[in-house]
């Protein structure tokens, strides 16, 4: 017997009798014998729970996790503090073992949680409308690009080279298959080349995707970019770090048309890259072009407040090939984590996390570069990441740090060969002064 299969042999017999069959094999009569498996798939014998636990713990022990290492690695996935409330709520199986709220009367918990998620995403981004989540920050960029081409009926998207390399890769995969031209705006001294932006934005440009703070942690000149883009009636698609919005100007305040981003920082563990959530929020005028689920507030027959999936005529289950997107399952439980995170941290907490990241990163940057052995690659205002260059090779730095239990920053040469070697460090609110000094001591001691 298997613990997840309640049917006893007697139950199976009872069912077969009801069906008037002799053997369970008979229910598979429609499957032609030529394609029936003659022997069982070659898998290991079934394991007990204790054995499974041992195997998984053994695999875990061969990973160096952020509880055992000090991590200065960011570049799109971040080691932020996750309040215990988040783990509790996402662990409640009324949330985790339900599905898409197709039946609103028995899904009010999920629906209201999504409504509150949408509200809080709008609150932090300063936008009018948010959907219920997308797969990740990269797919949010691809969906935003499609929205822009649908709205403007233009076929060109510009994306800055300072947008996360993973996002640009995913974007190019999808835009390529939609037949949308995707042009890259080159990086100049660590930020988007504004002259190139001015030169390339035209009446053919549906939208421009910028990231702020950008991949190197630097703040971009969004004010100038916004004027250039809107002057040509293109859309400004701004990818943002949600934690930074505790302090820094929002996409809404910059005049963005669509705000997107990776929501992992909001209460989701790094989890080797997923599951995360992509958020996407926009101005009211773009609402009906949005991909994915949206929850709206309404009343029941007795006038009581309730929540339903709304504007569903955009979606694949109604519109099929004419839908705004093919997305069905999204990242609902991760969006719930984001909501609980934002509810727990609140207005003050988000500001304080952003402030601590900012101060600690600037402290780290100042002491790492104090002796002159290392320097910042460029001098721009930055949030919590900064690129550092010096004589020792990236590999040697990484090895020296790892020997002392530190996961160093991201060597960006792989994605930006033109910039030469150098390391992007990330300092979140979780890092301590002591850890930062350790990092500095090891780097300083290298030949």
């Amino acid at each position: 017997m298997f613990p997840y299969l309640p049917a006893t042999p007697e139950d199976e017999t009872k069912i077969l009798e009801k069906l008037g069959l002799h053997s369970a094999e008979d229910v598979f009569e429609d499957i032609p014998p030529s394609i029936r498996l003659q022997k069982d798939p070659n898998l290991e014998r079934p394991k007990s729970e204790l054995e499974v636990e041992r195997i998984l713990k053994d695999l875990c022990s061969r990973n160096l996790d952020a509880e055992r290492a000090v991590i200065f690695l960011g570049a799109g996935s971040y080691d932020h503090y996750i309040p215990s409330t988040v783990r509790y709520v996402t662990g409640r199986s009324e949330f985790s073992t339900s599905y898409t709220p197709y039946q609103p009367e028995v899904s009010q918990g999920t629906l209201q949680a999504i409504f509150e998620y949408q509200s809080m995403i709008c609150a932090i981004t300063g936008m009018d409308v948010s959907n219920a989540s997308l797969y990740d920050g990269a797919s949010a960029a691809a969906e935003a690009a499609r929205m822009a081409t649908n709205r403007t009926r233009r076929r060109q998207i510009l994306v800055s080279e300072t947008v996360h390399p993973e996002t640009r890769k995913v974007l190019s995969t999808f835009l390529g298959c939609h037949g949308i031209a995707c042009e890259v705006l080159p990086v100049k001294s660590g930020v988007t080349d504004m002259e190139m932006l001015e030169e390339k934005v035209s009446r053919e440009t549906a939208g421009v995707i910028l990231q702020n703070p950008n991949f190197f942690g630097f703040f971009e000149d969004i004010g100038s970019a916004e004027k250039i883009i809107h002057n040509k009636k293109g859309l400004l698609i701004l990818s943002v770090d949600p934690i930074s919005l505790g302090l820094f100007k929002t996409p809404g305040e910059w005049g963005a048309d669509i705000a997107i981003g990776e929501g992992q920082s909001l209460g989701n563990p790094m989890s080797f890259g997923g599951p995360y959530l992509g958020f996407l929020a926009c101005t009211k005028s773009l609402m009906r072009k949005m991909p994915g689920r949206i929850v709206g507030q309404t009343r029941d027959t007795e006038g009581k407040r309730g929540f339903v999936s709304t504007l569903q005529t955009r979606e694949q289950h109604i519109r099929r090939e004419k839908a705004t997107s093919n997305i069905c399952s999204n990242e609902s439980l991760n969006a719930l984590a984001a909501s609980v995170y934002l509810a727990t941290m609140g207005k003050e907490g988000l500001k304080e996390v952003a402030r601590q990241c900012y101060d600690k990163a600037h402290y780290a940057a100042s002491i790492l570069t104090a002796s002159g052995k290392y320097r910042l690659l460029y001098d721009h205002p930055f949030f919590m990441e900064f690129p550092v260059v010096g004589a020792p090779s990236d590999e040697r730095i990484h090895e020296a740090l790892l020997r002392e239990g530190i996961l160093g920053g991201y060597a960006f040469q792989k994605d930006y060969p033109q910039l030469g070697h150098g390391i992007l460090y990330c300092v979140t609110e979780k890092r301590t002064k002591q850890e930062i000094h350790n990092l500095q001591r090891i780097l300083e001691g290298m030949e």
Partner: protein, 463 residues
């Protein structure tokens, strides 16, 4: 018990807090001019007690697999084993960074390689990717691979994708997003693909055929080998939508049926929780004929998702396969199919059964048999809630009028299925004896029928 009806923002009082961070141990640095947000975000100010009570109260307004049977057809709402959850939360999996050096994540990589190997074995395929985040993303990935396959052979004109009229909405949506033209083919009287209709649309502009088998009627297409042959002969490829793979693991394999590319929904077949709508995972496997989705391979279609996909979901699926083994997976398929047939047999005297044959893991009813007052599938669904049960999928597939699509899964006991059937039979009786009680349902839920028209006309989508 007291009814709870508050938004978290409505619990807010200035000065309350639900968090505390260690005091910063570094000096403050000046903030840059002109870059700071001007308006404070409208986020709640609540205590930790408020957060926990709020979400615990919300959770009580949800139906879930852990509460009872959730036979949402096509969604495979099976039980989600607890050990899988514990494993995914282990720090060695949840606290690792996707850009860590390979030597520091050998356990994670071994787990992914192991999952790959087992999924290949179960599907009869040779290579795959764990990147896609959900079924629909798996679909578009597979379709892009099909396009790339033809394009690489210099066959630019193959842009058409054949999809049966019983398909999920994501199939045509994915095809059109992949830049392909959808050709819909009607189903035959037995619910399978109409071979003559297929032959008519097969030509040198067809890139491939997208099929769910068993299909969305819960029926296995007996002609699958022939269909595969017909498509391959005209140069097309076959895509297997794994939404219904829960009926066939260990019994037959998409690879043996003749499919070239397959996606599997790890959140359906491999027991990972549905999370109120995600995260899922739509692993794509293929038989080596198309393209490998891997970086730095010249023929790759490129990345479809950041990093490695929904790793946390893969951990759960890996645990599930280890726990079940071939024997368990085969038993799960057998019992899933027996259970569906059992319910179908008990219901067919009361509900229309448009395709009366042995079904696989699910079946589709077409409303009430005796229905003098015109009770709809929606009303039946709402009335089921009064019996404390989650309704089946309604109005899908589109080819069945008043469809109620029931998928019990293998994790339901005979007793829970009998209870569910009894409720449906009682509703069938009420539909004749007391139709109003059905038409005005639900009566016992936290909210009554909701005004969806108003919600769409004047959208209120945030506080």
């Amino acid at each position: 018990m007291k009814e709870y009806n508050k938004l978290i923002l409505e619990c807010s009082r200035p000065g309350r807090t639900a968090y505390r961070l260690p005091e910063s141990d570094v000096p403050e640095f000046p903030l840059p001019d002109g870059l700071l947000r001007e308006r404070e975000p409208e986020l709640p100010e609540v205590s930790e007690v408020d957060v926990i009570r709020h979400y615990t109260n919300l959770s009580r307004k949800n139906y879930a697999v852990d509460i009872g049977m959730y036979p949402l057809g096509s969604c495979t709402m099976k039980y989600n084993p607890r050990i899988n959850e514990e494993a995914a939360r282990m720090s060695g999996f949840s606290n690792i960074h996707p850009l860590q050096p390979a030597e520091t994540v050998q356990g994670a990589l071994e787990l992914m390689a192991g999952t790959e190997k087992m999924l290949c074995e179960l599907t009869g395929m040779s290579a795959f990717t764990l990147q896609p985040a959900a079924g629909a993303q798996g679909e578009i990935t597979g379709l892009m691979m099909i396009r790339a396959y033809h394009r690489h052979r210099g066959d630019e004109k193959r842009r058409r994708i054949i999809i049966p009229d019983s398909a999920h909405g994501t199939n045509p949506a994915s095809a059109s997003m992949a830049g392909m033209e959808v050709v819909e083919v009607k189903s035959d009287e037995e619910g399978g693909m109409d071979l003559d209709a297929l032959q008519e649309v097969l030509n040198d502009e067809v890139a491939g055929l997208m099929l769910t088998n068993p299909n969305t009627l819960g029926l296995f297409d007996k002609n699958i080998v022939k269909i595969a042959d017909m498509v391959h002969k005209t140069g097309g490829l076959l895509y297997y939508d794994g939404a219904n793979a829960n009926a066939i693991l260990g019994i037959t394999r998409p690879g043996d049926m003749g499919f070239d590319i397959v996606h599997l929904n790890l959140h359906k077949t491999f027991s990972t929780p549905h999370g109120g709508g995600g995260p899922g995972s739509g692993a794509v496997v293929h038989n080596g004929k198309g393209y490998v989705l891997e970086e730095n391979r010249p023929l790759s279609i490129g990345k479809v998702k950041s990093w490695y996909g929904n790793f946390g979901v893969v951990v759960r699926a890996y645990c599930y396969i280890l726990s079940m083994g071939a024997e368990g997976l085969k038993a799960a398929s057998r019992i899933a199919v027996l259970n569906a047939n059992y319910m179908k047999e008990m219901l067919k005297d009361y509900y229309k059964l448009p395709y009366d044959r042995t079904c696989m893991h699910e079946f589709v009813l077409g409303g009430l048999k005796n229905n003098p007052y015109g009770i709809t599938a929606k009303q039946i669904a709402k009335r089921l809630m009064d019996y404390g049960l989650h309704p089946p999928t309604t109005y899908f597939p589109l080819i069945v009028h008043e469809a109620l699509m029931v998928e019990p899964t293998e994790t339901e006991s005979v007793e829970s299925m009998e209870e569910y059937v009894q409720a449906l039979i009682r509703i069938a009786q009420e539909a004749v004896a007391d139709p109003d009680v059905v038409k005005t349902a639900p009566h016992t839920t936290v909210v009554k029928q909701l005004d969806e028209v108003q919600a769409a006309r004047n959208p209120v989508v945030k506080w």
